[in-house]
Symmetry: C2
């Protein structure tokens, strides 16, 4: 199953039977609105804190995925989740509500693909019949933790990104219809010394390139083997850096197939600076928009590379640079 | 591989080839001092923050385990780690130093067994040849985050526990000599409404009992099948509650084989109230003391149940109760 240094190949090709995506009002005004299952009209979502709203989205996304797969909660053996809040409370509290055996993950914005990779590994090994994996972020909860409460109205530089309010869940099974997970590349931590939490794209781009390079090398494939290669949330600034680095490595990816979830989720006139970010960004774009395009037959083979900035408010205050990581998952859907 | 609802059986029995344990000065004065590989003389460990000291212990424990196994860093495919600090920075920064592909986990004090279970699953599936898993905690770093900086000298009730300063790492491989992982039970989140971070043992005891019950049920085994059953860090208060709950469930575990890592690590005259806690507690006791007893032939079959309190300083401030979890791993060593 291990190919090369860090890639898993899944001969049984575990299936993504259904997904559930839930977003906030701002994402509901973006170009991908039709790809989301549930759009909330306000940021509070009937809760008395933004943290509880984040938890609620995650629970709703799980319920939607279970319902769309025609299953019951009791059919699911495991929930693999995580988020950006201290001690991943959204995922842990959602796991309490679900009451399904739970594996807590932390990969910051790479959590969606960390969960999908580990979930596929579990199914490949018959360690589960069905499982849920996914993550969430909430703009107001994350901003106040990592930067400033949004109510302060503090200004942001053009390199800053907008934390997506959203939760994305995938329900995986060993059989059934749907896009199938064929391989996954687990990333190393890469840190080029950037310490500015308003420039995550630049910090994360080298990690994305490291994992893409490893994926191509381990499997002996190239960009031409995919219809779409989408990073998680590099935004416009990080996407440019990643593209340039790949050209330097002689691994240039054609522009028409190389994109970034953080560039897709908002309209150009939505004031999000360099694009979207947050755990929910790659989760809702991958499990909403890209998943739907695969189901429609528009895309057959995609490579998703979720990128995570593994900083904490504490490490930032202690003037540490930002360690970054990226995990890649290849999905194919041959109808 | 899945047995019953939530238990994995590993027919290939992945081997714990070596372990590395590093502790602080206070743990070095406890009854298990001889079982630890490295005892630091002070809490700073040559670093300029307690957080960096925690990271350093984790890196040292990895190095020790690799050296004891007679391997090189390049032989190791993956590092599965986590800790208690916000956004698990000790593990992520240690992963940066190691430069080994990294899967970040969060299970609070259950992280040691979450990592061991997932690591065994990966080896069972030939998804790795060698991997490292483990966790760390540092008394001064964790106390200031979850309760008060220790320098404040705030008083604690008798139910409080003492966060262990220590890092424990296991190096797993598919072949070689050493205790072998035979099964693992992944826990559900259990929350009985306790919200007092000075009474973690009481909060976590029902989760430990839930997982032990599931383990016995899924595998059709009982306490008599083990020479030792050790929970992670319930301390004296939680251990009594867990024992009583198991009696109620008609699953009483004989006193001579039922213990808790948090009760073993300190002498009765060390002023730790109800016992030890923290990610490092079960990690250093399991991978140090219990691992050594197995290697000496004193114990053949053990069940380790690491218990985690999945609270965050934020959820506590928002008056939430404490969701808890426990993951169990069965290890046997037949020489």
């Amino acid at each position: 199953m291990l190919k090369g240094h860090q890639t898993w190949v899944f001969p049984s090709k575990p299936t993504i039977l259904a997904t559930g995506t839930v977003v906030g009002p701002f994402e509901g005004k973006g170009p991908l609105a039709e790809d989301f299952d549930l759009i909330h009209g306000d940021l509070w979502m009937g809760q008395d804190s933004f943290e509880k709203a984040e938890q609620k989205m995650l629970e709703e996304a799980c319920e939607i995925a279970i319902r769309k797969a025609g299953l019951q909660k009791q059919d699911i053996q495991f929930f693999l989740g995580g988020d950006l809040l201290n001690q991943i409370i959204s995922a842990s509290f959602a796991a309490r509500t679900l009451a399904i055996p739970y594996l807590g993950l932390f990969g910051a914005c790479s959590t969606s693909m960390e969960g999908l990779a580990l979930g596929a590994l579990m199914l490949e090994n018959k360690a589960a019949r069905y499982l849920l994996c996914g993550t969430a972020s909430h703009n107001a909860a994350v901003e106040k933790q990592f930067r400033y409460p949004t109510e302060y109205g503090s200004q942001k530089p053009p390199t800053a990104q907008w934390t997506v309010t959203g939760a994305g869940i995938a329900l995986l099974g060993t059989k059934g219809k749907g896009p199938r997970v064929t391989s996954a590349t687990i990333g190393r931590v890469v840190d080029m010394g950037i310490s500015d939490p308003f420039n995550m794209g630049a910090a994360m781009a080298p990690a994305a390139v490291d994992t893409i390079t490893a994926h191509f090398r381990d499997l002996g494939v190239s960009a031409q083997d995919y219809d779409l290669i989408a990073t998680g949330d590099l935004g416009r600034v990080g996407h440019k850096i990643a593209s340039d680095l790949l050209i330097k490595h002689n691994l240039a990816i054609p522009e028409n197939i190389f994109t970034d979830c953080g560039m897709l989720i908002y309209h150009p006139d939505q004031p999000v600076q360099a694009g979207g970010s947050g755990c929910g960004c790659s989760a809702v774009v991958s499990f909403g928009h890209i998943f739907n395009r695969m189901k429609k037959g528009e895309l057959k083979k995609v490579l998703l590379i979720a990128t995570g900035a593994l900083l904490s408010p504490l490490s930032y205050q202690q003037k540490e640079s930002i360690p970054c990581i990226a995990h890649a998952v290849a999905i194919e859907h041959i109808q």
